[in-house]
């Protein structure tokens, strides 16, 4: 049972095509899988919610939807869907803080006519007013109805983002704000498209069973059809996020069946930095997403049954559909460390928060031992190879690697993790992780009662479904005794209806 297991990856050809009359910064990444009947196209545009003009938060998202759920200059959205339907082909958009990605997937039987539509959506979108109204309302409903009232976990994460990045270009949701969306006109969308969807603002990738010459075709009539940016001074420098001072708390009050908690702070590194990979190991040990590997999950759910799951992250993370793997093509220059505590019964919320901070502080103080380091490193080297079981996701990570200026992400994990020592990891923990200056966002039904418990100075209460042993009681005492230094000047209580109205709020 102890033999070492090594995963191997499917061999695929990864090529860069940079041909034709294209800008020097533009190239098409080809990932050929000749036997595959499927073809994926990903065009990553270097525009995100950070590019939304003041007062028009949501303009990037709305422009993206006008492409993903709109027509071309020759086809209305209704006509376009009729053509795509029998092929079961799809065109979707992902819009994030810094990039927007248009993802096309089709059986190669229909690649040629599909590609023409896909291309026209990007280079010559229709911008019908009906589509504009519908897409704007969809985004607005996503904030007013879905985020505020239909999903407490996502609400907690977005509240953390808004709180942590207060005053920073990352502050608004990727959908924008309620008032920002209301102020956007169709003309704004047209102008934004002209400004942002330029030849030198694209990263393009194709994967699967595409024919010879397809990369050249894309470079000629997709890239070549877009204008060069007028102002290539390009992406603005991001300011540093605000400095956290103690435990800063935002309590979002709403009717809630349980309490959702998110904790975080900015970190200075991303996938381009050596220490990111050292921190990957530390993070996996603390809270690998949707596994029982992390201490948070083992101690909070497994041992105590406090909730359904407890995880941590060292970059913005969205689960890719029904998988447990990170969604590609949401890269960001600035990242955050975060802990996600899934809803806990209200009466255990104060304890759950304290335990999460306690576990983080334990990691910072003690680091990993050699055995945990080895086990976690080997796990990540193998597990990360499962990220790329589909060519579409492999292509997505390849484009992310271009964004960060690194080798292919999965290869980076292998080579960089293989070189690390436990001392490297523990040094990175000390350099980048801490448990004193944290932003905490809590969604709960009685904010005042929770704040009173948190600020009382008394140990938090906790109750379990079963009798617990002496060891767990002793461990609980250590958790209860762990100090939480809330900064009362940085504590806010807001009602959910005040969230995401505009950037002056909450």
């Amino acid at each position: 049972m102890s033999r070492r297991v090594i995963l191997v990856c499917a061999a695929v050809a990864l090529v860069w095509g940079c041909v034709g009359d294209v800008g020097q910064d533009t190239a098409t990444l080809g990932l050929a899988v000749p036997d595959s009947p499927l073809v994926t196209l990903r065009v990553m545009v270097g525009t995100g919610s950070v590019d939304d003009p003041v007062g028009k938060n949501g303009l990037n998202a709305l422009t993206a939807l006008m492409i993903g759920r709109g027509g071309t200059n020759s086809l209305s959205y209704e006509e376009l869907t009729k053509i795509l339907y029998p092929w079961a082909a799809s065109i979707n958009v992902q819009h994030d803080k810094e990039v927007t990605t248009i993802i096309g997937e089709v059986h190669r039987d229909h690649l040629e006519p599909f590609y023409k539509i896909y291309r026209d959506l990007i280079v010559a979108p229709r911008f019908d007013f009906e589509d504009f109204q519908r897409n704007r309302e969809f985004l607005s409903n996503g904030i007013v109805s879905t985020l505020r009232g239909n999903n407490d976990e996502e609400l907690g994460k977005q509240a953390l983002n808004a709180f942590l990045y207060d005053g920073h270009p990352y502050e608004a949701t990727e959908m924008g704000t309620e008032r920002g969306l209301a102020s956007i006109s169709l003309e704004d969308v047209r102008d934004f498209h002209v400004q942002q969807y330029t030849r030198n603002n694209l990263r393009i990738g194709v994967a699967g069973g595409y024919p010879d010459g397809f990369l050249t075709q894309i470079n000629n009539d997709l890239v070549g059809a877009l204008p060069l940016a007028i102002d290539t001074s390009g992406s603005s420098e991001l300011p540093e996020p605000r400095i956290l001072d103690g435990l800063e708390l935002i309590l979002v009050e709403k009717e809630a069946i349980a309490t959702a908690i998110s904790i975080g702070f900015p970190i200075e590194i991303n996938r381009a930095d050596d220490d990111f990979y050292a921190l990957m190991i530390a993070n996996s040990y603390l809270g690998e997403h949707r596994t029982f590997n992390g201490r948070l999950m083992i101690q909070m759910r497994g041992r105590r049954g406090l909730n359904y799951g407890d995880y941590s992250y060292i970059e913005n993370f969205i689960q890719d559909g029904g998988t447990t793997f990170p969604l590609p093509n949401i890269p960001r220059r600035q990242q955050l460390f975060s802990i996600w505590i899934r809803p806990v019964p209200h009466h255990n919320a104060a304890f759950a928060l304290r335990q999460a901070v306690f576990e983080l502080s334990q990691l910072v103080e003690s680091g990993l031992n050699e055995q945990d380091f080895e086990a976690t490193r080997d796990y990540l080297i193998n597990y990360s190879k499962l990220y790329v079981q589909t060519t579409s996701r492999r292509l997505g990570y390849a484009l992310d690697s271009v964004f960060y200026g690194t080798e292919f992400f999965i290869d980076e994990i292998l080579t960089r993790l293989s070189r690390l020592t436990v001392d490297d990891v523990n040094a990175a923990i000390r350099r980048y992780l801490q448990a004193e200056n944290l932003a905490v966002a809590i969604v709960t039904s009685d904010a005042e009662a929770l704040w009173n418990e948190l600020s009382s100075g008394e140990p938090p209460s906790v109750s379990y479904n079963t009798e617990v042993g002496d060891q767990l009681l002793a461990d609980d005492q250590a958790i209860k005794a762990h100090p939480l230094a809330f900064n009362p000047d940085r504590m806010r209580v807001v009602t959910v209806d005040e969230m995401f109205v505009d950037l002056e709020g909450p």
């Binding site: 029998p86 092929w87 505020r148 976990e153 499962l386």
Partner: protein, 449 residues
């Protein structure tokens, strides 16, 4: 010791064979990969799918038990709860030892429960196949957990319920099920009712009974997809599962009486939400022999795909909904054909409901255009092919059809039936199942604040 057979499908590369199927149709099999099947003496079926995924295998263990089997009052949600208990260890592998092994393998491992079945799935290195089988067979044969572990896990279940029910669709679906069924366990959702979840910590003994009833080889099957040797798979299965004792428990699942009157309810949601409208109609159980459910699957496309006139009217032109979908998930017993609409303006709920019902009425009289029907079948076949992009989804697709009938050929048979659906079939099933008397309607709206 075992009986086995191999389906000699295409010898071409796996991906290429998908194309062959889509172009040829007719009598061709929709499932494009070579499949081997064998059954152990104890009744365990083991399926191997040869798929070109160098170095990787998906390993699915499927129990043909879900919330459908929760026939005793007070035990809703139990199949799902028991799925959680399967991660609570054995005498050989404690929870910690099991998790350490999964971590050592670098495996992606989890489980899910539905109305009809429960699946335990692992995707990992191909050379870990024997280790996975050792771990999986051990917990299926030798599960052993304490009362304290049992009660602790109940907290995780409550946590899962809590996160699900911050979404109003969960409440809406729970109400529709409660109204539409008076006898059958489909009257509750898989997560179960809150009061039953809260009572779970007291039911340790029942958990042992549940394990004894359903976690038996003749009620389970194993699917392995990817890079493995079929002969080795068979030898390993005999070695690790051979001692598993078959069971003889037959659940007495009530037959739902025919609904004779429309059932209507209105419920409120304490937070911001757009109105959610759900209409549900009883439809037949899955069959790979009868045309009705395939015809209803085609109908769901004709009504609610992005290409459908109703969708284009309500979503694109009138913009009175921002979510509209409908259909029936394949079930072993008669399920509901559920239609859900999120209405963009509260005053337009009646208008949206009328539009949906009017379109259904149109299908009762007007024959479906043959070209539209052909496009719909094409979309369904290409959509199926697109889903087969890695070992896990391939295993899950096959498991879905296999759990319904126990027959490996079902997946191919059902797609042949889709090809046979005619405009007359569509008109007949709409007339048969979409009556007011067979309808349940629930509207969820934001509470007045």
């Amino acid at each position: 010791m075992t009986k086995s057979w191999v389906y000699p499908m295409v010898v071409l590369s796996a991906w290429l064979s998908v194309s062959v199927v889509l172009e040829a149709q007719g009598d061709e099999d929709i499932f494009p990969f070579p499949v081997s099947v064998f059954e152990l003496d104890n009744g365990l079926t083991v399926v191997g799918v040869d798929y070109d995924s160098p170095g990787i295998v998906a390993y699915y263990t499927v129990v043909r038990t879900g919330s459908r089997n929760e026939v005793e009052p007070g035990f809703s949600g139990y199949a799902h709860f028991f799925e959680h208990m399967m991660f609570r260890g054995t005498e050989t592998y404690s929870t910690e030892a099991y998790n350490e092994e999964i971590k050592r393998l670098g495996a992606d491992s989890n489980a899910f429960t539905t109305d009809d079945w429960t699946a335990y799935h692992t995707v990992a290195s191909a050379d870990a196949l024997e280790t996975i089988m050792e771990l999986e067979s051990d917990r299926f044969l030798n599960l052993s957990y304490s009362v304290d572990d049992y009660r602790t896990e109940a907290g995780a279940i409550l946590g899962e319920y809590n996160l699900n029910f911050s979404n109003p669709v969960s409440l809406l679906r729970e109400k529709v099920r409660e109204l539409a069924f008076v006898s059958h366990p489909y009257g509750h959702t898989t997560i179960g009712l809150l009061e039953d979840i809260q009572a779970m910590p007291a039911h340790y003994d029942y958990s042992l009974e549940f394990y004894s009833r359903y976690y038996r080889p003749d009620n389970c099957f194993v699917i392995v997809v990817g890079d493995f040797d079929p002969t080795e798979l068979q030898q390993l299965a005999v070695s690790y599962y051979g001692a598993w004792e078959p069971g003889d428990y037959e659940p007495n699942i009530p037959v739902e009486p025919r609904q004779t009157d429309e059932r209507v309810a209105r419920i409120s949601w304490p937070n911001s939400t757009l109105p959610l409208l759900m209409l549900a109609f009883h439809v037949p159980a899955f069959s790979d022999q009868a045309i009705d459910m395939p015809a209803l699957d085609v109908l769901s496309q004709l009504l609610f795909s992005q290409n459908a006139p109703l969708y284009q009217q309500l979503y694109l032109r009138d913009q009175t909904v921002d979510v509209l979908s409908g259909g029936a998930v394949d079930h072993r017993d008669p399920p509901l054909f559920e239609i859900i609409a999120r209405v963009t303006k509260p005053a337009q709920v009646a208008l949206v409901q009328d539009a949906i019902l009017t379109e259904i009425e149109r299908f009762k009289t007007e024959p479906v255009d043959e070209e539209v029907l052909a496009d719909t079948k094409s979309a369904m076949r290409y959509s199926f092919a697109r889903g087969l992009d890695s070992p896990g989804p391939i295993a899950e697709t096959l498991a879905h059809y296999l759990q319904l009938t126990g027959d490996i050929e079902t997946v191919n048979r059902i797609y042949r039936l889709y090809d046979l659906v005619t405009a007359d079939d569509i008109r007949r099933v709409v007339n048969t199942y979409f009556s007011a008397a067979n309808r349940t309607v629930v509207l969820l709206t934001e509470v007045d604040r």
